[in-house]
Amino acid sequence: MGNLLEIKNLKVEFHLDERVITAVDGAYLNIKENEVVVLAGESGSGKTITALSICKILPRNAHIVWGVINLAGREMLCLNENELIKIRGKDIAYIFQEPVSFLNPVYTIGEQIIEVIKLHQGKNKKEAYEETIDLLKKVRIWEAKRVFQSYPHQLSGGLNQRAFIAMSLACNPKLLIADEPTTSLDVTIEKEILDLLLELKNKLKFSLLFITHNLSIAQKIADRIFIMYKGRVVEEADSQELFKSAKHFHTQELLSAYERIGRI
């Protein structure tokens, strides 16, 4: 089976006032259809920048120097902004670390979900409303109507993240990119969100690129794992295999720390 997404030799630089920092330096990655791939690494290893590069939603001072990002046969880096905005939110969707700050504080949850449905599916207000309520129920928000009318700051972190997932899945994306979606949540909520994501993935058949620093999560959900270190992918392995025999010294270091304190 072919790859849904393939990244090769990606290099991303940040242009600061006086210097240039290379955040990603020759990273590669591939994801098959309906697969869960975990991109793991410590802070500053370039995971998030790699993920944001896929849809070119990088910070202003970040520049993709070179690389290939291929989504189902389309060369993403050759597309212009008008072509890209048709892919963002429709074929590829994102969820992020702190749902409260990644949701716009001045719009209700409902308004933010309806916005993406109207944008990509051209539905009218009533249809979009009904679909939004459906979506919220799909992510197991029972009080869908109340959440619909709520602003992000009025909801808990867990509830916000569920709503965010609903928003991301509104247009049935082929690829969901989840950037540390549970890091800001308590462990008990974390488990609920992970279970929900895996369940939805099996039901809706999308590929999941999951970014985390938490090897315990990686072990639980991944089909394959890529380890990033200083802007490079230093190891790629099947989930089972990685925890048995890591090759790169950084992976070994990570695993030894993980063995001691990362799990119970």
């Binding site: 910070p59 905005i85 963002r88 939110g89 994102y94 700050s101 504080p105 001045v106 993406v116 928003m167």
Partner: protein, 324 residues
Amino acid sequence: MLSYLIRRLLGIIPLLLGITIISFAIIHLAPGKPTQIEQAFNPKVSQEVRLRLEKLYGLDKPLHIQYINWLVKLGKFDFGRSFIDERPVAEKILERIPITLTINIFSLILVLLIAIPLGVKTAVKAGSAFDHALTILVFLLFAAPTFWLALLLMQLLSIQLGWLPISGLKSLDFEYFSFGKKILDLAHHLFLPILVSTLGGFAGLTRYIRSNMIDALKQPYIYTARAKGLSQEKVIYKHALRNAILPVVTIIGLSIPGLLGGSVIFESIFAIPGIGRLFYEAVMSRDYPLIMAEVVLGGVLTMLGNLIADIAYGYVDPRIKYKR
């Protein structure tokens, strides 16, 4: 919401009292009695008048009694009578308010119309030549005293080019104009004051909106908006601008004291009969009831402005809760 409003309204009572106490204190604790000064500067006031005035204003009584008497009168909107022409102070102030209000409202609208797009544009193009040029302009406008700008523009537009009248509100033969011509004449006279007032105001607001907008564009929810597939325009004007612009509501409230204070110089230069000029005249002629009344009025207006701005901000920004 209702209980919040009631609590806020109750909260202004101590402020109101404070405003009256300070206004009272300034005038009564300053060296020299108002009536003495009145006499010294205005020889027309005879000894007899002075005594009559002292009695009229209860200046022979202890301070706290004077204060309470004054407060009771204030409560009935009785500000006393002017020393100069014996007319009720309230009447004198009321007839001056419309013109000051007109100028400030027009210039506020202009300021918003100019500052918001410029602020957004400079934020989106931060670091560009356009941004730098505007930054320099903003610094210059910030540093230039308004009355100097007024003098320069008068020199240029009124005297050298002769396009505009130098000062005043109406032409000499105003009374004989048709209605339409009256409006045109007023507009002709108000153009320069409104222009100067706008120049003085838009620099700060442009800078403020620029920095708010730059801040908003860095927020995480902007990544979300882009990840959704929204166009650049929608990301900027729907998601960032709304967040950047909400606090402007409070800025408008906070700008009231500056506008009132500024109107003193402003209206004196252009010879506009507004409350600023009235205050200036009152100060020059030591018209003590009028000074007191205007100081209290200034305080109360500012306080109300802040209150309304606060409530309005709570209304437009969902993050502000009507609690605490």
